[in-house]
């Protein structure tokens, strides 16, 4: 926290100023609303410090939404890509189908699901996972397609079955593209999960849109800042995981 704002609200200073204008100070310290009503300030440190605990639960909710949605999206998209890898006829319909799910705005998706699944976290998770499918599916397919034929031939020559080639050769070599897809999907999902408030799914959006604080920039900056930090953190974690599971790339570099 900024030292000057500590100083500004230190009890000694408050007491000293309080001697001069008691009524004014009491109003300020007992109620944080004046700061909220003051639209000339972009960011109110005092309010942020006193109210930072409000952001704990929404942050955890957002984290949950993202992790569950991306895991479900990854499981489905991965299965679809393995299937499409073996059956070329399935590729055009899968690309088109996931493309449609990707193009439907999440906010519309949330609300289209409301009559079927009701308000809540599940509705948000269904729409968010549907959004990630295309990103992950496309990247897995690109990764598999980029495996050189010579490598595949060598594996076959060594007596590996199709299944062994897929799991021991092709998928490991496709890891960078797969992780790239996961990173794009995760970072975008963190941003979009902010809209889950429209589905009653909680998350950081509640601190922007929820309580009639739409014009209170301090809360918008805090909630938006937490979301951006969360996205960057996920990005770093996924990059680290990629680094750990592809040791042969480090040897080459």
């Amino acid at each position: 926290m900024a030292p000057w704002s500590d100083l500004m609200t230190s009890p000694a200073l408050l007491a000293a100023v309080g001697e001069v204008g008691k009524g004014f100070i009491q109003e300020r310290s007992s109620d944080t609303l004046p700061c909220q009503a003051d639209t000339s300030k972009l960011f109110c440190f005092d309010w942020a410090r006193e109210n930072i605990d409000r952001y704990g639960t929404p942050t955890l909710q957002q984290l949950e939404l993202v992790v569950i949605s991306v895991l479900i999206g990854f499981a489905i998209a991965f299965a679809l890509s393995v299937f499409a890898h073996r059956h070329a006829w399935a590729r055009p319909p899968l690309l088109a189908g996931t493309g449609i799910l990707f193009a439907i705005p999440s906010i519309a998706f949330f609300l289209l699901l409301l009559p079927i699944t009701g308000r809540g976290r599940e509705t948000a998770i269904i729409a968010l996972s549907a959004y990630t499918l295309q990103i992950i599916y496309r990247n897995v397919m690109v990764g598999l397609a980029n495996v050189p034929d010579s490598v595949r031939d060598a594996a076959r020559g060594m007596g590996l079955t199709d299944r062994q080639i897929l799991w021991k050769v092709e998928l490991p070599l496709a890891t960078p593209e797969i992780v790239a897809g996961l990173r794009i999907a995760t970072v975008s999902t963190v941003a979009i999960a902010t809209l889950a408030v429209f589905a009653g799914g909680g998350g950081l959006g509640t601190q922007i849109y929820g309580g009639g604080n739409l014009s209170f920039t301090t809360s918008i900056i805090l909630a938006g800042g937490i979301a951006i930090a969360m996205a960057l953190l996920f990005d770093v974690v996924l990059l680290t995981i990629q680094h750990l599971i592809t040791p042969w790339r480090r040897a080459a570099a």
Partner: protein
């Protein structure tokens, strides 16, 4: 009614479709009816307008920068890093912040939406141009083409699929975010969604249906445009 869907669901969607075509009673407007095809078309038109304005603005900013750095082969950190960072911007926070701190209105909204469109277009233009085989570029140079001709006649046509996929990604995000434009004082189809107290649950669902259809129309339109812009030689290769 038989089938897997329970009846209330069908009723909800039926009510929403009625709302789209015929004005309905509202609880709060004092007898004035809300919804109906005229209102739908008016709001849809606004959403289409701001989407196209924002997309055009994003293209004007991102395309020349992406082409320049892609052709020069420098600035990868800027072009790709900006793309990655841009995806992390929470749309709701961007629109709310812009409306609260800078002001409401079409111009501000267009700029905010363009901010969402720039990163994917810039990154994909850069990557698309960089991906062009260097041997092809050398051959063009050997044939006596100027740098501008190389960019215009060799690199750009070969990069069209990648650039267009960036444009489509940008459009998905812009048209989706234009849905919450009423928060910034511009009435788009999202008005049905955000002002539930005026339009009721039928209005909310109608808004969702219309927004989804509009987004898909943009997606299919751009896919068709991409097929027209892609040179015949590139289509022979399965992508």
């Amino acid at each position: 009614m038989t089938g897997p869907l329970p009846h209330p669901v069908l009723a909800s969607f039926g009510g929403a479709i009625e709302f789209i075509f015929t004005p309905q009673e509202s609880n709060v407007t004092g007898g004035n009816k809300v919804g109906g095809l005229d209102k739908v078309l008016e709001l849809a038109l606004t959403q289409i307008e701001v989407t196209i304005f924002a997309l055009a603005l994003a293209l004007v900013v991102a395309l020349p920068i992406g082409l320049y750095f892609g052709h020069k082969g420098t600035g990868e950190l800027l072009a790709v890093g900006l793309g990655n960072a841009g995806r992390a911007i929470p749309e709701l926070a961007l629109i709310a912040f812009m409306a609260a701190a800078i002001g409401v209105g079409v111009l501000n909204l267009t700029i905010a939406l363009a901010v969402l469109g720039v990163p994917p277009i810039l990154t994909n233009t850069f990557v698309g141009i960089r991906q062009v085989d260097r041997a092809t570029v050398d051959a063009a140079r050997g044939m006596g083409m100027t740098e501008f001709e190389i960019l215009r006649k060799v690199e750009l046509p070969l990069a069209v699929p990648t650039i267009m996929s960036g444009v489509r990604g940008a459009t998905v995000n812009i048209v989706a975010t234009a849905t919450i434009a009423p928060l910034a004082g511009v009435l788009t189809l999202g008005d049905f969604i955000i002002n539930e107290n005026v339009y009721g649950t039928d209005g909310v669902l109608a808004g969702a249906i219309l927004v989804a259809l509009l987004a898909l129309a943009f997606e299919f339109g751009l896919a068709a445009l991409q097929r027209r812009l892609t040179s015949k030689g590139l289509k022979l290769k399965p992508v």
